[in-house]
Amino acid sequence: MIGLPEVLQLIAAGLVTGVIFGLMGLGLSVILGTMGIVNMADGAIIMFGMYLTYWLFALFGILPFFAAFLIMPLFFGVGILFQYAFAELPSKLGITDRDALAIVGTIGLAALLEGSANILWSPDVRQIGIAWLNVPIGFGGVVDLPSGHLLAAALTIVVYVAVFIFFRRTYAGLSIRALIEDRTAASLMGVNVGRMSLIGGGLGISLGGIAACMLTMTNAFYPSVGWQFLLYAFVVVALGGMGNIIGSLIAGASIGVIQSATIAVSNSILVPVVFLSIFLIALAIRRESI
């Protein structure tokens, strides 16, 4: 039977992987908030980030957490481009059904990224193999967690704190929160809505890039893995609320625990069903985030 030590192990493992899911969801919700569109390509972008991190390590020996410093600005730039292409440009061109365009367009972008990854790097499953990342670290003899996971989780928490401070204390962060809440009012208050939206888009994508770096320390990946990450990000946003930083952290942690529990009980067959059902139910219940 499942005793207390196993349950603690479950919870601990779930928490550690879950915070990274939370980061993914945070990126998605920032984009959702600043652009008002659903980024179906978020998972694929994260997948791409994982490959970039992998190659930075394989070719140049840059460890994933240092790679984050390189990936973040790169993805920030990509995010700005993305924001421009899917949010500003359609507004300038006077397109009315921008939402439909964004959904179809981002699906296309996801396909483009996945296909390119297939061509460039083949559909094989890859993983970053660094020996000292896989050392199990014990806590009180009860819980064993791989050091890589712990490191990734710790760094993710650091990122969370940084994002929190950014959104609460800096002018840029406050303006982005303002324009997420009410675009017109924010512009009346003197916020340069156009520029801040671009920055918000860049931030959202770069958060995804950081999440990708963290993920390389915990997961194996292949080009189609993006859809799985997209699902996790969606569930985090649905559960934690759009633009809600603490919410996404809690939601991510919960999802991690739920995932561990589901895998322990049913050998990972039921995982997609569980998550998808949670997502649908959360989406239906949570009206304020719509």
Binding site: V104, G108, L112
Partner: protein, 298 residues
């Protein structure tokens, strides 16, 4: 319309083998694309179309395994997706709007696929003797395409078409004018499920092994959206024309670029989605600039 029917039936007599298979694929995508198109006319962007194929395929497969006659298996494969989508449609349409609705519809086939995986994860084997020759399944597809296009035509050219268009433009105003938006939305959401499910049965009838990855292909979703966009979204024959282009593209790319076809589709989708408005914008702007010039110079 007669030309259309003739063009559909002709390949059956003229082509064979690989070419007939290509024509089969064209009709397959035409059905799915016109199903998506029906939704799009009423601004119901459903991303669940690839799921109808999967549910229909498994319904057909299970029915055939239980020795139901072919006709009933086919009918079941159309009805079961509709029945599955009815509770979903109530849940989604009442609670969600716009892009959240679309995301919800995207999730539904994934749930169905995951559930099927739980029960039939190792795949469903259909005995080889029960497989339908491609000629017959082609006829089935042709009939489905005909009815799907006919439904689109009816929806577009009848007063329902006006209602749908008004719903697309301004939903609240349409409702105020007496358009039963709820019922209309339900119809255009469920009808593609019926056609898509049967198309899934046609697919399953030519396969002897059903696997969730094959019948719940997200790539197909991209292709059918692409087909509709290229062929002209919102028109009656647009999806069919688009399906022709897309299928030929698929076949050609499959020969030359076995792995990267997804990337090409992605580029095309983005180009179409962003490019069309850009072109429209510049056309409109150039025109208005020219007219302004004329006014000011004279």
């Amino acid at each position: 319309m007669l030309i259309f029917v003739a063009m559909m039936v002709l390949p059956l007599f003229l082509l064979s083998g690989f070419y007939l298979y290509t024509a089969w694929l064209i009709l397959y995508y035409a059905i799915l694309a016109s199903g998506w198109n029906i939704g799009r006319i009423g601004n119901v962007i459903s991303l669940a179309n690839f799921g109808y194929v999967g549910i229909g395929a498994y319904s057909y497969g299970l029915a055939t395994l239980n020795n139901l006659p072919f006709a009933s298996a086919l009918f079941l494969s159309g009805i079961v997706p509709v029945i599955c989508m009815i509770p979903v449609s109530f849940l989604l349409m009442i609670k969600l709007r716009g892009l959240y609705f679309s995301v919800g519809t995207f999730v539904v086939p994934l749930i169905a696929s995951a559930l099927i995986q739980v029960f039939y994860g190792t795949g469903l084997y259909i005995p080889f003797q029960k497989a339908i020759p491609i000629n017959q399944s082609y006829i089935i597809l042709a009939t489905l395409t005909f009815f799907s296009v006919a439904f689109t035509a009816w929806m577009t050219w009848s007063r329902y078409g006006l209602a749908l268009r008004s719903m697309f433009d301004a939903e609240a105003a349409a409702e105020a004018n007496g358009v039963n938006t709820g019922r209309l939305k339900l119809i255009i959401f469920l009808v593609p499920a019926f056609f898509g499910g049967m198309a899934g049965a046609a697919l399953a009838s030519s396969l002897s092994f059903l696997d969730t990855d094959v019948v719940f292909a997200v790539g197909d979703l991209l292709l059918l959206i692409l087909a509709t966009l290229i062929g002209g979204a919102g028109t009656v024959f647009g999806p069919v024309i688009g399906a022709v282009i897309v299928t030929i593209l698929t076949v050609v790319l499959g020969i030359y670029l076995p792995y990267g076809h997804l990337a090409v589709y992605g580029v095309i989708v983005i180009a179409v989605v962003l490019g069309k408005p850009i072109i429209q914008y510049y056309r409109a702007n150039l025109r208005s600039r020219a007219s302004v010039k004329n006014v000011t110079s004279s």
